[in-house]
Symmetry: C2
Subunit: 171 residues, 2 copies
Amino acid sequence: MIIVNTGNGKGKTTASIGQIIRFLGHGFKVCLIQLFKGEGFYGEQKILVKLNNLDFFSFAKEHPYCIKGVSPAEAADKCLPAMRKLKELANSPKKYDLVVLEEFNIALRDKFIPENEFVDIVKQLSQKSNIIVTGRGSPDALINIADLVTEMKEIKHPYKEGIKAERGIEF
Amino acid sequence: MIIVNTGNGKGKTTASIGQIIRFLGHGFKVCLIQLFKGEGFYGEQKILVKLNNLDFFSFAKEHPYCIKGVSPAEAADKCLPAMRKLKELANSPKKYDLVVLEEFNIALRDKFIPENEFVDIVKQLSQKSNIIVTGRGSPDALINIADLVTEMKEIKHPYKEGIKAERGIEF
């Protein structure tokens, strides 16, 4: 099954973490591939690295929009090993019951990874593993092949009123 | 901060689990109060019970719409200790950084718990703890006092095409 968590609201990443915990609870094996997330910053990383049956990879830790001095070309370069990892999973015997691709929608939106190639690999990998792709602005090509798509829609958000991101809530 | 995860789509509960993991990763203390969730069924329960700094309570394990032979009056009765627990938290010194109230929106919708009383307690408790309330159909009175509201909106769902709920995905 291909699952997409998209939209401008909160809950895309936290829902994928919850899904990982749910899979692990059943004794399933999970692979998490994160893009654009600095290490030692997000609370969940500290718990996830300690759990059994979860392999955790992090690539392209800096996104040009968030970190000054990182160019789009550099970010695209740093997404290459993530794509290699994904191809490796698609071309090997089944290893994981769930593969979570964190913020890959952002990499697609910013053309750091090629859309057609990504969609083909996801289709191939979905023959053996459940896949979750998160990030706002999921492209139609991915939505079309997905089985379950949820839009996390912002109804009310305090950061619009000038309140800063809080530890635990946003990271 | 008062957070509400509502809407007809997937991700309300999984996002709250992800948020719990994020808080725990920072060393914060969390209380999870679940309604209408049978034990030993949901994968996440098996992981959550093992984590430090998390107190986990489960009440009214059977909802009349899901389990035959449970009347609405019985369900309302079984929600009483959940409300007592919540009042106790609101009236005691701060114990938790995050209190998650799973499916309380459903209990409000079905009038198993009194809306005015619930809203007052949540307001009081939010002076010392962050609160997440999940479940579809969140009442306006709760949305009005909330700081962050996300609607999980179903864009595409495979169970409409006759595919059954899967272990890991839905429970």
